[in-house]
């Protein structure tokens, strides 16, 4: 067993990086608890990698500070930060064997050979690669290479594990199993970890908390569930999963729930007391919607029905032309398609708890 490093919390305050006049990262402030895994998620160019590299010390921030365990490390050189990092291209040393790669960080710490050997063996068995210790990296598959990189990163008992799209180069199935494997090891060792990804599923699968970034700023921070079911903005709601957006006016309260008349026709209730704004944008997840031929709920016309294995996607248009999407679960793999067909006029309904008001931007 690789010894558990004493986990430290990580914090940044006002972290900013300018490239010329581009504000790649713009005043990011965040606290990450000891042992927590946080995923930085966002569209390309939003500053995820830049943030991660500032934590690692590979990029110097223009402004702001990075603190590990309360200690300001903003000016500490990379090699004194005790960080384990995984790169998208694995970055294994091609001239060293698997075991030598894993031993590298320990050698740099001046550890004696006799101590290094068992530690390397333990780390390799943790990632199930004990048998390949003498191979060169070029003789390994992508998944094996990233596991070596993981062993190399954790064997030094880092205070922090940083991962920049670690599974980006792997195919879907391998990625899924590696996500679980990395997550298990991170939890078992209790390492504080920051991961960068632009794969929302990866972020939801692996992280305790997800940080949505946009144009160098934090858009929303929360648990996967919070981010998914209570997005603050249209941007977040549409970035994580698929979402319907309905415009409406608050016309009054009923049992403490604001009532919204939709521009597309019909009336819905919001689950929480809304702020006193008049116009609202309501998000509804497609899987919350049920369809019926009876006149109940919001009317819509079916444009297209797509069979997708576990669910059938029904693309519709509301009466004012708003696109609307419902995911209907398939039972025993059988589509519900038979019940409806393209061009049908149907009524969509859903629980008020599925409604969530989001900001426009």
């Amino acid at each position: 067993m690789v010894a558990t490093a004493q986990a430290s919390d990580l914090a940044f305050s006002g972290l900013t990086k300018l490239f010329g006049t581009t504000r790649a990262v713009d005043g990011v402030t965040l606290r990450i608890a000891a042992g927590e895994m946080v995923a930085l998620l966002g569209p390309s160019g939003c500053g995820k990698t830049t943030t991660l590299r500032m934590i690692a010390g590979l990029i110097e921030p223009t402004e702001g500070d990075v603190l590990i365990g309360g200690m300001r490390i903003t000016r500490t050189p990379v090699h004194r930060r005790n960080i384990g990092m995984l790169f998208q291209n694995y970055a294994l040393f091609p001239h060293l064997s698997v075991a030598e790669n894993v031993a590298f960080g320990l050698q740099m710490r001046g550890m004696r050979k006799a101590l290094i050997k068992p530690k390397v063996a333990q780390a390799l068995s943790l990632v199930q690669l004990g048998a390949l210790a003498d191979r060169l990296p070029s003789a390994l598959s992508g998944g094996q290479q990233q596991r070596v990189a993981l062993a190399r990163a954790i064997v030094i008992e880092p205070t922090l594990l940083l991962l920049d799209e670690p599974l980006g180069a792997l195919d879907r199935n391998l990625r899924d199993s590696m996500q679980v494997e990395i997550r298990q090891i991170q939890q078992r060792l209790g390492i504080t970890a920051v991961m960068v990804t632009h794969d929302q599923e990866e972020a939801l699968t692996m992280a305790d908390r997800v940080v949505i970034m946009r144009d160098g700023k934090l858009e929303q921070v929360g648990t996967p569930e919070e981010i998914y079911s209570r997005p603050t903005s249209r941007f977040v709601a549409s970035f994580i999963g698929t979402c319907n957006f309905l415009r409406g006016d608050v016309i009054g309260q009923e049992a403490g729930r604001p009532q919204v008349r939709l521009a597309a026709g019909g009336q819905i209730a919001l689950p929480s007391p809304a702020n006193d704004q008049k116009e609202v944008l309501v998000s509804v997840r497609p899987e919350a919607i049920s369809l019926s031929a009876e006149e109940r709920g919001t009317p819509a016309t079916i444009l297209q029905i797509v069979y997708r294995g576990q669910a059938t996607h029904v693309h519709m248009a509301l009466d004012d032309g708003t696109p609307f999407l419902a995911f209907l679960p398939n039972r025993d793999g059988k589509p519900v398609r038979s019940a409806f067909s393209t061009g049908d006029r149907i009524w969509a309904s859903w629980s008020p708890d599925s409604n969530w008001a989001v900001s426009e931007a």
């Binding site: 690692a56 010390g57 590979l58 050189p77 990379v78 090699h79 004194r80 930060r81 005790n82 960080i83 384990g84 990092m85 790169f87 291209n89 970055a91 294994l92 040393f93 091609p94 001239h95 590298f104 960080g105 740099m108 710490r109 990189a149 190399r152 990163a153 030094i156 940083l162």
Partner: protein
């Protein structure tokens, strides 16, 4: 590498390669053949077989001293080019040196300057400084022409090193100098070796600079060869030439043994 070219394009490629080989190697073969000729003049085809020209040349004091001058000069300029060129190439590639492009262009400029003129200029410059030591002049001149070869090959291989390897080493706790020796250098060894080989060969074969900078006491092999040729044109000239070819071949084979020529030339 092992795959063969096929089709019309392949045939043209092979014919061209064969033609180049013939034009480069055939004259060398002629020289080697003549060096064993018993005829008193360097004529082709050679007559009979003798190693007496080699015996004569090897026993010649002037040849011995020229050979020693040339090898010493080549080794010294290679080492100096390495010592100066490695840090220069590294700094220009990895650090934010102001004006790095201009500096690189200046370092590489001997590539495009007419060496004969450079040599004359250097001679006048040395005379101005009252430095009349031919050995020093030759050394400075040779470093001037060999340095660009080392900078060029090391730069080319540094550019190919995956930066994330160096970054990974840093995160693993390696201070920058260890990153350089443990990670960067092993990636560029072939480039360094190729650069050193170029330096050695260029210096060993250098004529236009040595033409100005050498004197009767300090005379590199190419100048000695040219001098001997103007006196008499017997097969000893061919023997000297063959010995030069042999030295060059030894350097190439040494490199092949050391790092593998294919790797070295792949920069």
């Amino acid at each position: 590498m092992a795959s063969r070219l096929s089709g019309g394009g392949g045939l043209v490629t092979y014919l061209l390669a064969a033609a180049v080989l013939v034009f480069v190697l055939a004259p060398l073969a002629v020289v080697v053949a003549v060096s064993f000729s018993t005829a008193p003049l360097a004529i082709f085809p050679p007559v009979g077989f003798t190693t007496s020209w080699y015996e004569e040349v090897l026993a010649n004091d002037e040849f011995q001293s020229a050979f020693i001058v040339s090898v010493t000069l080549a080794v010294c300029s290679t080492i100096t080019s390495f010592v100066l060129g490695m840090p220069a190439a590294y700094a220009l590639n990895r650090w934010n040196v102001p004006g790095s492009r201009a500096i690189e262009a200046m370092l590489l400029s001997p590539f495009i300057m007419p060496i004969l003129i450079t040599g004359l200029a250097l001679l006048q410059f040395m005379a101005m400084l009252k430095l009349r030591d031919a050995a020093l002049g030759l050394f400075i001149g040779h470093v001037l022409v060999t340095l660009p070869y080392l900078v060029r090959t090391v730069t080319a291989s540094l550019k190919q090193v995956d930066r994330s390897l160096e970054e990974a080493a840093l995160t693993l706790g390696a201070p920058p100098w260890k990153v350089f020796t443990k990670v960067t250098v092993p990636q560029i060894v072939p480039g360094i070796a190729a650069g050193c080989l170029f330096c050695f060969m260029v210096s060993f074969d250098e004529f236009p600079l040595s033409f100005w900078l050498s004197n009767a006491e300090t005379m590199p092999l190419p100048i000695f060869l040219q001098n001997s040729m103007t006196k008499v044109f017997d097969p000893s000239i061919a023997a000297i030439s063959s010995l030069m070819i042999l030295t060059a071949a030894a350097a190439v084979i040494g490199l092949e043994k050391l790092v593998g020529l294919r790797r070295a030339m792949s920069v």
